[in-house]
């Protein structure tokens, strides 16, 4: 619960919270990136930034257009997104399941938590050499790494969310004769949801990060691969394009998660609209 309240400021002030990222207030956030791009373009044109350091935005855009026409860009974005989502569903699914199990049953926690905490302390990207040995540079390698990276934020936050539920509320549920499943759906899950969303958004960041690294090192398709190929052929505009696309995809994922969050946490004071 505490994690979401850090954003109280922006959320309580924003009218029509669920669609905030489409609203004028949300657009303000895009002013600064726009200024930076314009400045960058100007500096490139005047030769302050040379072309082999950083190509002008217009050139990056042109490169993007080329790749779009050839179908390469869409293909690579689709491949990367697919890997990201499959890895996310697998890792997030297991993380959620273990988080629930360990939050609800102390027996389950006693058996698995120590092991999970030990694995958590290994940076998952350190496993890349091992993963390549296991899976080669096939799809499994990337999906495995993404899943592993996503697992922990979801696991830890689901567990924290359940453990953080007010015991007075669960007692109240029992007093009023709620069955275990009703108690879960009416009290435990909604109570854990704010923490689960915190984990979700954190996991989305890790998802992209893991995928970039994995595709850069071990892939023959995808955005990371596209960037590495471009590096070999000194196509710096394509390299920059890949980086920008990662930024946009990351932002998109975060916005969707925020939308889902504000739609499902309408009861939370941090998400309440002032016009109610």
């Amino acid at each position: 619960m505490t994690a979401v309240t850090t954003e109280t400021d922006t959320k309580t002030k924003g009218r029509g919270a669920p669609f905030r990222f489409l609203a004028p207030r949300g657009l303000i956030g895009w002013v600064l990136p726009l200024i930076i791009v314009l400045l960058w373009e100007a500096l490139s044109r005047t030769g302050v930034i040379t072309e082999n350091v950083l190509p002008a935005p217009s050139e990056v855009l042109a490169a993007g257009w080329q790749l779009l026409l050839s179908g390469e860009l869409v293909h690579n974005i689709a491949i990367s997104t697919q890997r990201a989502l499959i890895g996310f569903v697998i890792g997030g699914g297991f993380g959620f399941a273990f988080g629930l199990a360990n939050g609800l049953w102390s027996r389950s926690r006693d058996v698995t938590d120590t092991t999970l905490q030990m694995i958590r302390n290994v940076p998952h990207l350190a496993l890349i050499p091992l993963v390549i040995l296991w899976f080669g540079i096939g799809e499994e390698a990337k999906i495995f790494l993404v899943a592993l990276g996503v697992f922990f934020p979801i696991y830890v936050n689901t567990l924290l969310g359940i453990q953080g539920i007010d015991p007075q509320l669960t007692e109240m549920g029992r007093i009023y004769g709620m069955s275990p499943s009703r108690l879960f759906w009416r009290v435990i899950l909604p109570g854990a949801l704010p923490a689960i969303f915190t984990g979700l958004r954190y996991a989305l960041g890790i998802m992209w990060l893991t995928l970039i690294v994995a595709e850069t090192i071990a892939a023959n398709s995808g955005l990371g691969y596209m960037a590495m190929q471009a590096r070999e052929f000194m196509q710096i505009d394509v390299v920059v394009l890949s980086i920008l696309i990662y930024a946009l995809l990351g932002k998109l994922a975060d916005s969707l998660a925020r939308l889902a969050e504000s739609l499902s946490l309408q009861w939370h004071p941090a998400f309440q609209r002032k016009d109610a």
């Binding site: 007075q168 509320l169 007692e171 109240m172 549920g173 007093i175 009023y176 004769g177 709620m178 009703r182 009416r186 009290v187 909604p190 109570g191 949801l193 946490l265 309408q266 009861w267 939370h268 004071p269 309440q272 109610a276």
Partner: protein
Amino acid sequence: MSTAFTFQGVQRVFGSKQVLRGINLEVPEGQFVAIIGKSGCGKSTLLRLLAGLDQPDGGRITRGEAARGAAGTRIMFQEPRLLPWARVTENVAVGLTGIAQGAAANARAADYLAEVGLADRGSEWPSVLSGGQRQRVALARALVGQPAILALDEPLGALDALTRIEMQQLLERIWREKGFTAVLVTHDVAEAVILADRVILLEEGHVALDLTIDLPRPRRHGSPEVAAYEQEILDRLLGRNAA
């Protein structure tokens, strides 16, 4: 008149600490009983036993026909314990778990919301209500299943003085209307005298005083008769302390 519940030599021990040492108490149906006593003397323990949330280590608790079963006795706490993620009406409908559901539950919940003066707040989130309003929602939730006994553990303890008095009046009106047996734990002697037919003083795990308040209702805060009863109880409470 038949009996709502009886405690016969009820004991409760926590570790080496004997909190209740043989409580004997018989309460007729429809009576309003107030339980007072120093902090830590076992009032909440007694109430939890009455509500069936805890079992006695000795003695017997028997409940009248109507008070048996899960919905026969309800308990209300100092904290409203509302679900923050459920609308006010849904929170009241929690009191109908296993009794009614869907539209029927919502309709009954709405009736009880009206009863506590919150008819138009049903679609709001609990977080926008004041402390007193939340406690009224909790009262509606406790009563919507039509319990025979309502146990109240310092339900007004966290409210400001004015809201407290309003809530006392509300509680008294609803109690007279519905006719349930009310067992109110309070640390406010005046509140006990204003509301109760009978005041029980707990001391060292026993019933130290069982006083019938023989005054017509509604009673007024500060009236001489009320003040006399208050004085009697306070003397008893503090006298033992000074000795």
